[in-house]
Amino acid sequence: MRQPFRLDVHTCAIEDVRLGEATTVTGSTLTIDAVEIAGAVLEDGRIGGVEIEIAQPGDDTRIIGCLDCAEPRTKMGDGAVFPGFLGGMETVGNGETFRLGNVSVLASSRYPQPFSGLLQAREAVVDMSGPTAIYSPMSQVRNIVLALTPNPDIENDDYDDAARRAVLKVAELIARRALEAEPATTTTTFDFSEQDPDLPRVVYFYQLQGQGRMADTFLYGRDIHNLVPTIIDPNEVIDGAIVSGVYVYACYKNPTYLHQNNPIIWELQRRHGKDLNFAGVIINRGHNYTQEDKERSSHWAAKLAEFMSADAAVLTAEGGGNSAIDMMLACQYMEKAGITTTVVSSEAAGTDGFDYPLFYSVPEADAIVSIGSEDEIIPMPAVSKVIGGTTLLTGEPAEGPFDLKMYFHYCGTNQLGANVLQGRVF
């Protein structure tokens, strides 16, 4: 019988990644055939070159110029894991999906032409060990880094598309090769069709950044500039419906890997049927430009939550001031509709931490979880290996030491809550 709202995720947890003769899994060790992976990447003529590097937790390694990253996934049976980018156009979120846990495919590159203005790929750094590892959640993951160089004849936007597709393609290829080895897996079932009438109904307000080039999120392969608040099955998110193209400020970034592993969704899944009913996800565009659009969008999101008979909602944002306003307004209108909320927010209390930490707030936002400040300046130690180049975009030697504002720490204050930071009063 077809079960459109049941997704079984089969996880092969990886504890080591090595370069080797073939792309395969033995036990909990993933081996990568760099020649095969490079060949797949270079099928796209917009990419001029690629080095395959491994960066694992504890390595004395810094990755710079980080773009998107994705977890290796493939569908068992029919279907594609990133529809709109790979395979045909269809929806995901049901059937069976194979994943390699604790592994990411991460692109690192500079763009062929110089940027100007807001919408540009800025520096994005991960330290894999030492005291600065806490500033990127991707330091906790085994990264297969695609250190890309562009074909110099192409435009930035075209190259951006090529780099994104390279990550998704390699993530799917590695998972497919691993699955061929038939490794042992553990299974997590995502199915929220049974709801307990005695438990509260919780929805997740999931804001996605859609601001323009270098600040776009993709839903089934399309940008979300015209997205209105929309109900989506959590399983679609987990199964690759959302792909990231946000590079403007690294600390805010929610890369594809973190959409696939959205900590809020995984937490609500874990508690579904025990403490609460996971009643669904409302996705919404962040960074609406005008006050009227902000009001329209946030009122509409609150209406959808009411329509879903929500008792409560968790809200997350992606981006800076505009995104915060969009989220706070949604919080306000949900609370006015009688829906209890908590909000996940980053802080901007200035480099010395003495300023008020929120860009914008509403009186109804009385339950806020902090994920740390974008303004802190972190002293970065010297490291023995740098992946992705030798200099930062500022021109400083990338091996360090140097000071780096939180803005440029990859997913440092990502607003899905994958990091370990919490802003505290000293």
């Binding site: 409560a312 908590t342 931490g353 009385d366 902090s370 400040s373 303004d375 802190e376 919490q422």
Partner: protein, 348 residues
């Protein structure tokens, strides 16, 4: 063994009460009065090498001279820590403790610790400049005060970093900083949500702001036809080489540029360095950020008297309230000095 200096007033030094508040500054060797209780608490970890004493009135009669004497004494003994008080809810004594502790840290780099009742007058004056532990409001709580101050003092003496104020049991200095935590964000968010839903107590990790002070609008311009109008923007419009190095975000600087230079818009051309909006249309035509063309049309029609000789620019994205207030105040002061009657502020 760590070496600690201690500051107390005439009462705790055993000189006398209010009638002896004129007792002059003096330096004694070793522990005196409550210093002995600290010495007991320190055990083998630290010793009180020096006690500075001053009468409450004497200190405030000439604070500069007394601070100078205290700094000179500390410079000589080179302790690893200065403890001042505890001064409980005392006014003059607490303020003297704050002044000496701040001077020890700022002039000599010696970490310092005060014990104060959280509502004591010195708390708000010195909380940013020195570390404070909360005490009861009177000397009756001396034992507890010493017991909580001594371990914090040893940590400071060893150069250990502060933890969040709540964990240290300190009076907050007031700045925020990120720390690593074991409990995942998603777990905290859902726990807080369920508690709020059930009406159970929960604590928001960020408090809502206290009400901002309303800004009364300036009075209307009497005669626009006679008024000089200035253009101000937070849109980051600067000469293309950004000579004043205004930041693209989190600005701390502002600058003004001749309006004739903007009108020419060549060598240098103007562009926006603002990192918070897509500036391609502003770069193509700066009038779209600083509407000089519209203002010139109004002047030609006689609607306004004149256009100020300069326009003012900063970047308004991620700017802290502190810098925003300062920048606004500095620009306003300059505009008033230049005889400007009204301003059009364009924002992004």
């Amino acid at each position: 063994m760590l070496r600690v200096a201690h500051y107390i007033n005439q009462f705790f030094a055993g000189i006398g009460g209010e009638d002896k508040a004129d007792a002059p500054f003096e330096v004694r060797e070793g522990a005196v009065g409550p210093g002995r209780a600290f010495a007991m608490e320190f055990g083998d970890d630290a010793e009180i090498v020096q006690t500075l004493v001053c009468g409450d009135n004497a200190f405030h009669a000439d604070p500069e001279a007394n601070l100078e004497a205290a700094v000179a004494a500390l410079a000589e003994s080179k302790p690893d820590l200065l403890i001042a008080g505890p001064a409980f809810n005392a006014g003059r004594y607490g303020l003297a403790c704050g002044a000496i502790a701040a001077a020890a840290t700022e002039k000599l780099g010696i970490p310092a610790l005060i014990g104060l009742y959280p509502e004591a007058p010195a708390v708000d004056v010195y909380r940013v400049r020195t570390v404070m532990m909360p005490t009861g409001d009177s000397a009756g709580s001396m034992k507890d005060a010493v017991a909580s101050m001594a371990p914090m003092g040893l940590r400071l003496a060893r150069g250990e970093p502060l933890s969040p104020a709540e964990e240290d049991g300190r009076i907050p200095i007031g700045y925020r900083k990120a720390v690593a935590t074991e409990v995942p964000v998603a777990h905290r968010a859902v726990e807080m949500l369920l508690a709020k839903l059930k009406g159970e107590p929960f604590e928001s990790e960020i408090s809502l702001p206290e009400g901002a002070e309303p800004v009364p609008p300036a009075p209307a311009v009497d005669d626009l036809g006679e008024a000089t109008i200035a253009l101000v923007t937070e849109g980051g419009l600067v000469p293309e080489d950004n000579p004043d190095r205004i930041e693209s975000s989190s600005a701390t600087k502002w600058a003004r540029y001749p309006i004739d230079m903007l009108r020419a818009n060549t060598d240098p051309a103007f562009k926006s360095i603002h990192a918070g909006y897509d500036s391609q249309w502003v770069d193509a035509d700066p009038n779209r950020m600083v509407p000089l063309d519209a203002l010139e049309a109004l002047r030609a029609e006689g609607v306004i008297g004149g256009i100020h000789d300069y326009f003012y620019a900063t970047t308004g994205t991620g700017t802290t309230v502190t810098h925003g207030e300062r920048i606004g105040g500095e620009i306003a002061k300059q505009l008033i000095a230049d005889g400007v009657q009204a301003v059009i502020v364009t924002s992004t």
